[in-house]
Symmetry: C2
Subunit: 77 residues, 2 copies
Amino acid sequence: MVRSSGPIRPKAGEDVAGDRIRTRRNELGMSQQALAKAADVSRQTIISMEQGNYAPSVYLALRVGAALHATVEDLWR
Amino acid sequence: MVRSSGPIRPKAGEDVAGDRIRTRRNELGMSQQALAKAADVSRQTIISMEQGNYAPSVYLALRVGAALHATVEDLWR
DNA sequence: CATGGACGTAAAAAAGTCTTGACAGGTAAA
DNA sequence: TTTACCTGTCAAGACTTTTTTACGTCCATG
């Protein structure tokens, strides 16, 4: 059994961070574009994050967390 | 100035997470091997993380944080 | 001695992240 | 209808993460 490689990701089905991010963003009345700008990343990146199946770097996670006034633990479990 | 690509990382010189991780690990009297096992990753990965210039995925960060009884915010700021 | 643990370096392979840019559908307002 | 904003898809390209394997050193014991 070889865990081939690539960034560490959640087990399939345990990936709910995207939903929490989207929910939080909507609560704050922000568009994806606005969040992207606040976190200084591309809109594509925000889209991918919300759709799950995406394992951002800690630094991106911290930026998004800050932009949403939440902690990494809050959003990614 | 075009941010070419690849995971988001800290600005050069602001990368001190490695030191905090190593310090915390030593405080707990753990070897790199032990931490690697606790976080279920390779020892190489731990080495890279401690040496800085490395942007782990949020999920890896969460595992290491848990193994060190610390939050992601504590370690990566 | 020599055995073993802890740390470090190196390099290839596999799989991801993140950006840019183009294009398209839906909805709300002028 | 036209304009504008929001969301989504697709794809190429540049650069990174993480694993595995192997090898080299230092230090503490036996």
